[in-house]
């Protein structure tokens, strides 16, 4: 057993170049993810920024009671789940389709151009992209013009003034912005497939659809599973910047996500303890979801994170 361990250490030192590349990441994670966990303690205190840390009085579960009894909290849970579910069910497969289609393009040059163009919007900040969206959705915007030209509506609609459109606006704008970027990881996974498999399948008489189904999709299945598990655990999260840009007083009842609720009811008033308490609960639920998704995926497909 001892020998086994020294063997490990030896391997560690033999790979020191590789290991040292990992170290910055570990340091980063420790500083930004592990040290802050200690400060979850302020969720149980009446923390005040003006006082030194840890000198604030303990108040137990007061802040937890505060938000559990707030109807706006439950509304924000509903909105978050609504928006996340749409994104998960209708949004998750899109980058996979996109990657598969891109993979079937024969002209390399065209493929690269399409790929580059598709992920460019990812690099536009939401503050700007959101502004563009608002213009498109406005009275004189392209969407109204298009719909009227097609005869689908007879007068301008202020899309962002009607709460019922909001979830769909977030879904479409997110898809528009992120599809190309999210597809990269699948494209990378597809690139790693042994071409020998395709050649063999071709000799056996498999057509393109069959090759795509039996080779490409099967090979990237673990990638899909991992990303799906992560997506499920993120279901209580939302894209704060996106919602912050697109929300207004008229669509607030469908727009206020959990993050926005924390911002409005916590940070704006400087209630750090309250915000931490909400986040604390959210993290615990996310952890539970992660385990659940992981377990389900393991049972169903055999692929899992841990």
């Amino acid at each position: 057993m001892f020998q086994y361990r020294t063997g490990q250490i030896k391997t560690f030192f033999r790979q020191w170049q590789l290991q040292s590349m990992v170290i910055p990441g570990i340091i980063w994670m420790f500083i930004f993810c592990y040290i802050p966990m200690f400060w979850l303690i302020i969720a149980f205190m009446d923390f005040s920024i003006a006082k030194p840390m840890l000198q604030s009085p303990f108040v137990g579960l007061k802040h937890f009671q505060d938000f559990i009894t707030d109807d706006r909290f439950w509304r924000s849970i509903r909105n978050t789940l609504g928006m996340s579910s749409i994104k998960l069910l209708l949004g998750f497969p899109i980058p996979i389709f996109f990657a598969l289609m891109l993979n079937e393009i024969r002209t390399i040059r065209f493929k690269r151009t399409v790929q580059t163009i598709s992920y460019l919007p990812h690099f536009i900040a939401w503050t700007i992209f959101g502004g563009i969206m608002l213009n498109w959705l406005g009275e004189g915007g392209v969407i109204n013009q298009l719909m009227m030209a097609l005869g689908l509506q007879d007068r301008e609609i202020l899309f962002n003034s009607d709460a019922k459109y909001f979830w769909w606006i977030t879904y479409f704008s997110d898809t528009l912005k992120e599809t190309g970027w999210s597809a990269i990881i699948y494209i990378a996974a597809i690139a790693g497939i042994d071409p020998g498999l395709y050649e063999a399948a071709e000799l056996d008489g498999a057509n393109r659809w069959q090759r795509m189904w039996h080779i490409t999709i099967q090979s990237i299945r673990p990638t899909i599973a991992i990303l799906f598990i992560l997506a499920v655990s993120g279901i209580l999260g939302s894209n704060f910047e996106q919602i912050f840009m697109l929300k207004n007083n008229m669509n607030m009842k469908m727009a206020e996500s959990l993050d926005l609720y924390i911002y409005n009811m916590g940070l704006v008033s400087g209630r750090h303890s309250f915000s931490t308490a909400v986040l604390f609960v959210r993290s615990i639920v996310a952890l539970g979801l992660l385990f659940l998704a992981n377990y389900t995926s393991k049972k169903l497909t055999g692929d899992s994170i841990f």
Partner: protein, 554 residues
């Protein structure tokens, strides 16, 4: 399993190395910090020996070069120090070089972060309404200015104005900040300059072509909108937006509209719940009717700032509940455009059923921003002396007018902006502020009492709006501004919930399908408000008002 254990222990060892490293870092930092304070004290001592003269500004005692960082709590503030003529002149004169810092986002959050880290800029200017200001004071992060002044520069008491010092005096007898743009009622009565910026604006050409319709009664308002819809639905190929309210629900459609309707702030010595005023509700119903008839859209409730700006710059609004100060750039531009009458003029807007003229907020004692000296500064004596200098007539003149002979000259005993500067002010403010740094470039300590006498006459298209606002300002109502509880106290949280709910309810009222629905939504809001703790909010407002009245009486 074993495999994992080894990996785990590796991680833990690494982590420990890291924490130790971090601890070492903080230790050395502490060590570095400690020796730095004694020298600061030792430099202070020789100066206290020369006992500063209360009749003379103390900045003259020491004009050796020193750098002070100055946080300006406005993310949009884009000026720098050291390039413009004025800043160079002041640095040369006083030895103080200012390093301006602005928040990347919200000033409140930015300064809160700095407070947590314990490192603050030397000078801090923050909006007087911001939560962080109170926290800076309560958390002992800033110097009591009166104590600093006694020690290093008693001349401060001469220039800081007794009124403002008293206004910001805390219960412990100390004053931690000096405001800019602070107006006392006496001053406003004397000069007629009220700093009122609320106006009701209409587009001049349309308004006159329509025969100057009456907009002060619900009927007149609706008729004018109908006429607009029938005769002028478009401008430059784009649909006209009939109405806009600045600051959306919480400001333009609430407080501001209530001021236009002259809704009282108190009744029989008690704070009045203005939202339930019958005139106000009648006007909200008018807006509802206008929406129902398709005379207005809800764009004014949903547009983003950029969309509003775009519509304003293209003169696509017909009428606006909007501060004239936000139009100082647009109006001259519109007046110089191809359609020179498409600029905005102030007229009588919605009025209450008695036909009273509006009662607009004037400037008040709170002012705009307060400037403080943080305890992180290594040069408190230079900081207070610099503030004293800036608050004095000499400093105000240096910052506002610049250097004598270059940007201003004395004409018949009075300082006056040179003609080329006055021209630049009208044609290219950007250049004026960047190259010369005069007028409103460095407004952090701006005192209207002193500088307004040097202001050149404004362009007529701006002056019309300003005069209108001055004429309708209710000088004694400054005391009612911002009575609401802020921060993280229980009553403040109640108020945050109520006001955030109102922001959602008002659009529902305007889009309600009929008056019955309107009444129902409003009654529901009133009931919800009580649940959220509205009674406590009213008590708070009353207490706050009483305190202010007592201070005013002093």
């Amino acid at each position: 399993m074993k495999h994992n254990l080894i990996k785990l222990s590796m991680v833990i060892v690494l982590a420990m190395i890291l924490t130790l490293g971090l601890a070492a870092c903080t230790k050395t930092e502490n060590n570095e910090n400690k020796p730095s304070s004694p020298p600061a004290e030792s430099t202070q001592q020789p100066q206290t020996e020369t006992t500063p003269n209360p009749e003379q500004p103390a900045w003259q005692l020491d004009t050796s070069p020193v750098e002070l960082s100055w946080f300006v709590g406005a993310s949009w503030y884009g000026h720098s120090w050291g390039e413009s003529l004025t800043s160079k002149y002041v640095t040369e004169k006083t030895g103080v070089n200012v390093k301006l810092e602005v928040p990347s986002g919200e000033a409140n959050e930015h300064i809160t972060l700095m407070m947590t880290s314990g490192k603050l800029p030397d000078l801090i200017s923050m909006g007087s309404w911001e939560n962080a200001v109170k926290k800076l004071w309560e958390g002992d992060h800033v110097y009591a200015l009166n104590e600093l002044a006694e020690q290093y520069d008693p001349y401060f008491f001469k220039v800081a104005g007794d009124g403002t010092l008293k206004w910001y005096r805390q219960e412990n007898g100390n004053t931690y900040g000096v405001p800019n743009d602070s107006y006392s009622p006496n001053l406003m009565h004397e000069t007629g300059m009220t700093a009122a910026n609320q106006t009701f604006l209409v587009r001049k050409d349309l308004y006159e072509e329509m025969g100057k319709p009456d907009l002060s009664t619900p009927e007149g308002f609706l008729n004018a909108l109908q006429l607009l819809k029938d005769k002028y639905p478009e401008y430059k190929g784009q649909p006209i937006s009939p109405f806009f309210a600045q600051g959306n629900v919480p400001y333009g459609m609430s407080e501001y509209l209530q001021n236009l309707l002259a809704v009282p702030h108190e009744k029989d010595g008690k704070v009045y719940d203005r939202i339930t005023n019958p005139d106000y509700l009648a006007w909200l119903k008018t807006f509802r009717t206008a929406y129902e008839r398709g005379l207005i859209n809800v764009d004014f409730l949903v547009d983003s700032d950029t969309q509003v700006e775009e519509k304003t710059n293209n003169a696509r609004y017909f009428m606006m509940i909007r501060e004239w100060t936000g139009m100082t750039a647009v109006n001259p531009m519109l007046a110089a455009s191809g359609n020179p009458d498409s600029y905005y003029i102030a007229v009588d807007g919605p009025q209450n059923s008695n036909g009273d003229s509006a009662k607009l907020f004037p400037g008040n004692m709170d002012g705009w921003m307060v400037t403080m000296i943080s305890k992180s500064t290594k040069n408190p004596e230079r900081a207070i002396r610099f503030l004293t200098y800036l608050a004095s007539e000499e400093g105000q003149r240096d910052l506002f007018l610049g250097k004598e002979g270059e940007t201003w000259e004395t004409v018949s005993g009075k300082p006056q902006l040179k003609a080329d500067m006055a021209k630049l002010l009208e044609t290219d403010i950007e250049k004026l502020e960047k190259e010369y740094g005069i007028m409103d470039t460095y407004w952090m300590m701006r005192n209207p009492v002193i500088i307004n006498q040097w202001r050149p006459e404004k362009a007529p298209v701006i002056k019309q709006m300003e005069d209108f606002a001055n004429g309708q300002a209710d000088i004694d109502s400054g005391i009612y501004k911002g009575l609401d509880p802020l921060g993280d106290s229980e009553v403040a949280v109640s108020w945050a919930r109520i006001s955030q709910n109102w922001e959602e309810v008002l659009p529902e009222l305007i889009t309600a399908k009929d008056e019955a629905a309107f009444d129902k939504i409003f009654d529901n809001f009133l009931a919800r408000r009580v649940n959220y703790g509205f009674d406590k909010v009213m008590e708070y407002r009353q207490a706050e008002l009483d305190v202010r009245k007592a201070k005013m009486a002093e």
